[in-house]
């Protein structure tokens, strides 16, 4: 079925065929890239007061027609419910604030308890206690606004290479990094440099583990810092795949297009399109399904992560967490080691 592979790969580089996805939304935090996040607190406060204020007044430009009609029929009932809603929101908001603070304190304590301090041995010790570890780990990373601490491209490169060090130390051989816009893919040279630096910080400059960075989308592989492709250098300690939004739904669309073309030409029969075929094609094009997916954000949002590849993936995230920290990583591994798999049973 190499025909399909070639077809899809050819499509990838054909700009005419680039479909404008119907569900494409703005990349996360894009709006605040330029301005930074400095005024968010003020903005949040403004939003809260605004939502209460707007709820209170009789809003004529209501979008929902049904409620619009209701307003005319029974304005007082509407007002009554709106006031109740404000009450509910205030109570919930107070609770939410307390919960947020609690979660933040909890995270800070975990950070103190689990501290790798750049030593692989400590991570090894933590991992050896676990009954099982995942074969393949995936992580969804957010690029933070440039104005923030640990934001921008440098922050993202730093976070992801740090994550790679933990993964190597934990003895996990495959890591998938997903970022919506594919920033890592675009900056692969500086990323490799950064990985090398971080790994030498953990393992010492003479002892840097070998790694390979794969970009399934363009079907390219980058060995270590410099492309030394000798046989010895190909025995890598970790394989890193970089994915972006493009590898998700759009790859499935590309595959469908290619198969549709082959079907109309008559070289592929519709009955040949089976679960196994699609699965093997997508594994070729994107990679295998990860066992564990760690999201370093406040509440799980898959952001267009390849849908075919999350069938039985275990998700982990810490509520209200925004940082890429070792404590989240190790707690995810712990959670994974305690979970039971029983497909369908």
């Amino acid at each position: 079925m190499s025909q399909i592979q070639e077809g899809v790969r050819a499509r990838v580089h054909n700009p005419d065929d680039e479909a404008i996805s119907s569900t494409h939304t703005k990349p996360p935090l894009n709006a605040s890239f330029e301005k930074g996040n400095a005024n968010t607190k003020l903005r949040t406060l403004k939003a809260i007061t605004e939502s209460i204020y707007i709820n209170n007044e009789y809003n004529k430009t209501e979008k929902n027609e049904i409620i619009g009609r209701k307003q005319q029929q029974n304005y007082f009932a509407y007002l009554f419910y709106k006031i109740l809603l404000v009450g509910l929101f205030i109570v919930y908001g107070a609770f939410r604030y307390a919960q947020y603070q609690y979660n933040r304190v909890k995270l800070r304590i975990y950070d103190l308890v689990y501290n790798p301090s750049n030593t692989p041995q400590l991570i090894r010790q933590d991992v050896l206690k676990l009954d099982k570890i995942p074969k393949r780990v995936a992580a969804i990373l957010d690029m933070k606004p440039i104005g923030d601490v640990g934001g921008g491209l440098t922050g993202l490169l730093n976070d992801s290479s740090e994550l790679i060090c933990w993964t190597v130390s934990a003895g996990i051989k495959h890591l998938t990094l997903y970022d919506f816009d594919g920033v890592l893919q675009k900056n692969v040279t500086s990323f490799r440099e950064e990985i090398h630096n971080k790994l030498s910080k953990y393992y010492g400059p003479s002892n840097v583990p070998k790694f390979v960075v794969r970009i399934p989308h363009s079907n390219s592989m980058y060995f270590n810092r410099d492309d030394s492709e000798s046989e010895e250098n190909k025995k890598v300690a970790i394989e890193i795949s970089l994915l972006s939004n493009r590898d998700g739904r759009e790859t499935i669309v590309d595959l469908t297009k290619t198969m549709a073309d082959l079907c109309t030409q008559g070289s592929l029969d519709l009955s040949d399109v089976t679960m196994d075929l699609v699965d093997s094609e997508l594994t070729q094009l994107v990679g295998p399904e990860p066992d564990l997916l760690v999201y370093f954000g406040p509440s799980l949002d898959l952001q267009g992560f390849p849908p075919w590849h999350i069938r039985l993936t275990e998700f982990y995230w810490e509520p209200d967490n925004t940082e890429v920290t070792y404590s989240v990583f190790i707690r995810a591994l712990k959670k994974f080691s305690s979970c039971k798999m029983n497909v369908g049973k």
Partner: protein, 289 residues
């Protein structure tokens, strides 16, 4: 919330609270449009309570209808429930058979004697690989779908037997066939989306999974992976997941959404004002020249 209240009038009080709450939430305009449920934990519940597995499934159904009632009352227009996975055929034949019997009974119950379906104007759809079901059940499903097809207010998708990958595959095949027949169809994300079992319905906003498992287990993969879908994982078993817990989740969702909507509009306003000021400076510099 027990169904037999010991104090007289407690039932009507409870329903009053429920109705008030749902109308209040509805007025926020920030209720999820489409909610997905993975009803997990019926069996573990029956083991925990030392009752028969069948009874556990019954308890699960009761819990489902209560929750759906609250959802529809609050303004949710579409609900999708994961009732039976294709993988579930691996279970013991006895349990599979009892689940099939239960499904038959329940589908009839949903539609006859003015139950849930009539009360909330629910159009019932059974989605999934129906070719795996036996004829008796298929007939029952057909009847229910036929009976409720004119209901417009809300939709209930029952996934039976369903897996997310099968759904994507099914959609891909449909698209390929359409291309073959019509010739020059433009294939895009939208087309695949439309040919899913949930095509044409509002996009998924909220996914709820019970029993402390943090996997999708092949449920609505395409829909959940979309950006902005909220996933709620709960530690309780499905029959223990009552309307009060659902109410809490809906409130959480509405609060978060109304807040993010407002901050989004504020951000937009900020941007537009800074744009106009930029524009003004530009025009001024042109004048100066």
């Amino acid at each position: 919330m027990s169904s037999e209240g010991s104090i007289p009038g407690s039932n009507s009080l409870l329903s009053l609270v429920k109705n008030t709450f749902s109308r209040t939430l509805r007025s926020s305009n920030c209720v999820p449009q489409h909610v997905g449920f993975v009803m997990d934990g019926n069996r573990r519940y029956s083991i925990k309570k030392e009752i028969e597995i069948k009874e556990g499934h019954e308890a699960g159904f009761v819990s489902m209808s209560r929750i759906l009632e609250l959802c529809y009352e609050s303004g949710v227009t579409t609900a999708t429930v994961f009732a039976f996975s294709i993988e579930n055929f691996k279970r013991s034949p006895y349990e599979v058979q009892s689940l099939m019997d239960l499904a038959k009974k329940r589908i009839r119950q949903l539609t006859t004697n003015g139950n849930l379906a009539q009360k909330y104007g629910i159009r019932i759809r059974v989605i999934g690989d129906l070719s795996l079901l036996d004829e008796d059940l298929l007939k029952e499903i057909k009847d229910a779908v036929e009976l409720t097809k004119d209901n417009k207010r809300s939709v209930l998708n029952i996934c039976f037997p369903y897996t997310g990958r099968e759904e994507i595959l099914h959609s891909m095949k449909e698209v390929i066939t359409e291309r073959k027949v019509k010739g020059n169809t433009k294939i895009g994300e939208y087309l695949i989306d439309r040919h899913l079992y949930t095509g044409g319905l509002p996009p998924l906003d909220l996914l709820i999974r019970t029993s402390g498992v943090s996997r999708l287990s092949d449920f609505m993969l395409w829909q959940v992976s979309n950006k902005g879908v909220t996933v709620e994982l709960l530690n309780c078993l499905w029959p223990e997941f009552g309307p009060s817990k659902m109410a809490w989740i809906l409130l959480k969702f509405a609060f978060k959404k109304s807040l993010s909507d407002r901050s989004y509009t504020l951000e937009k306003e900020d941007e537009s004002t800074s744009d106009t000021s930029l524009f003004q400076t530009q025009t001024m510099s042109i004048k100066a020249e």
